[in-house]
Symmetry: C2
Subunit: 298 residues, 2 copies
């Protein structure tokens, strides 16, 4: 436990060094780019603009989309925080206008459930559904403090020993605007694929912050669980690995400071793979878990 605290302290010190330029929750690149605007004439319908800033090659990142839909559901439901969010990805999103249609499914005392679909438009203006989400929301601040977890934080090198973009070529090949939105520092043990030497284990670990220093919150963690390079890279499979379905559980409000994200794949078979992510905050709490089913690169 002590060595872990030293690591976290390292991360905090690093954070302090650039605190002068730090954006805040509510006033940041991520908040501006996930803004949703309620339509005055249609209840539960929100307009949004998918920013070109969160793309990989030409597709909008799936975690960014999830955060955007999550923000709309947060507006539509009486409870503020995503507890469990299940998303099925239908078609690839592109930068530009979008509309999110929400439905309140059930309102309970401690949890409420909603559904949302994000649509974009074809050349005739018809709506094309991109992603469909069912989610249960609650209030993380209202949860009791009991922690009986048996999970331990993954072994992680110190922040300063992980690899940022300055370490060499862009960690994701191709044109990837999202790289500039994030301050990702990859564990060198899971970065071998960038120099043609993947570990073969199907693991990806990174320190994660938004580039403008905005601290994490439940919505930004919906982005974080799908923002690392895919684990198939570490299995030696370079290429597109589209998400079929992703479910995230947000378990606790994260402490300020960088997150540590660990993603593992155990079962690559039949052309599909699962990616299990866990997100740890700077105080050593497991704050989110997610699992996705993705197609393996062809």
């Amino acid at each position: 436990m002590e060595s872990y605290r030293l690591v976290a302290t390292g991360g905090r010190l690093e954070t302090m060094a650039y605190a002068a330029a730090q954006a805040s929750i509510g006033d940041s690149e991520f908040d501006r780019d996930t803004t949703v605007t309620a339509r005055a004439d249609e209840s539960g319908v929100y307009d949004a603009e998918l920013s070109a800033g969160w793309t990989i090659i030409t597709a909008v990142n799936g975690g960014y989309l999830l955060a955007l839909v999550g923000r709309a559901l947060s507006a539509a439901l009486p409870h503020p925080d995503p507890f469990t969010v299940s998303a099925h990805y239908l078609t690839s999103s592109v930068p530009g206008p979008a509309v999110i249609r929400t439905e309140v499914v059930r309102i309970g005392r401690t949890l409420s459930t909603g559904q949302a679909s994000l649509f974009q438009y074809d050349e005739n203006g018809a709506e094309i559904e991109r992603i469909r989400v069912v989610a249960s929301y609650g209030d993380l601040a209202a949860l009791p403090d009991d922690v009986r977890t048996t999970a331990v934080p993954p072994a992680f090198p110190a922040y300063e020993d992980c690899l940022g973009p300055e370490a060499g070529p862009a960690p994701i090949p191709g044109s990837n605007a999202i790289v500039d939105r994030l301050r990702l520092r990859l564990d060198p043990a899971t970065a071998g694929w960038a120099v043609g030497a993947p570990s073969g284990k199907g693991e990806m670990r990174a320190w994660f912050e938004l580039a403008d220093g905005r601290d994490a919150d439940p919505l930004s963690m919906l982005l974080a669980v799908d923002a690392l390079p895919p684990t198939c890279f570490d299995l030696g499979l370079m290429g597109w690995s589209p998400t079929i379905e992703l479910t995230a559980h947000v378990r606790r409000r994260p402490a300020p400071g960088p997150l540590r994200i660990s993603i593992t794949t155990r079962n690559l078979a039949g052309g599909f793979l699962e990616e299990d992510a866990e997100v740890w905050d700077s105080a050593g709490h497991l704050v989110a878990q997610s699992r996705q089913l993705a197609r393996a690169p062809r």
Copy 2:
């Protein structure tokens, strides 16, 4: 690997011994109790009867519900097999009539996506939604044979060394009709809670078969992932642990013979816990994975 094969052989021998009474896929208790009947006058709408045979205390088992909704989606979609099924549980189901309303969301070449809600009726005949599901279906038989999994089967005692109902008091306290529908044999290491000595690890492992010997298929695995005693029992928390959300990935058609199911909980915190299940078939393949978010017993 050799010791595992011996275990599986043991399981097969056990299965052979009662083969005379074995039901088959399509003609079994499970198939009859998950029958859905398409309404002639409403496309995509299916009537069903929730059987009292699959209850725990008074509530209908969540895995049984999922299998029933899964069967309706299998009828509604052009692809036969559930690949990823996300269910949000809204209200408790009771034995009796139900209606499943499905929607085809998207039809693709290799995957199609659908949505389904199961409703029951209040005293005035109004529909009450019990469970809402979004799922992507494909054809397991069409998948390539590549397996690059790093997952290994969990350490499991031989079938004959696990504990069936004959070992003592009912493994789940109370009146539980579902116990008679299943042939569960618990790993003694995860059965201590039944005699007041839980391991504290948050694990549950069992050999799983349907009581009439019907072999497993993708639909029965939707039942299997939520049919063991809850892991919170092994953490010393006896009581009701309702599922909020459960997502199952079916990765492969299971071989005939008993399944081995291993469920773990790593993060019990803030009044909630996750349950991660993996299902292994008698041929040593990881055939399904699931994760649920549940409330911890109060």
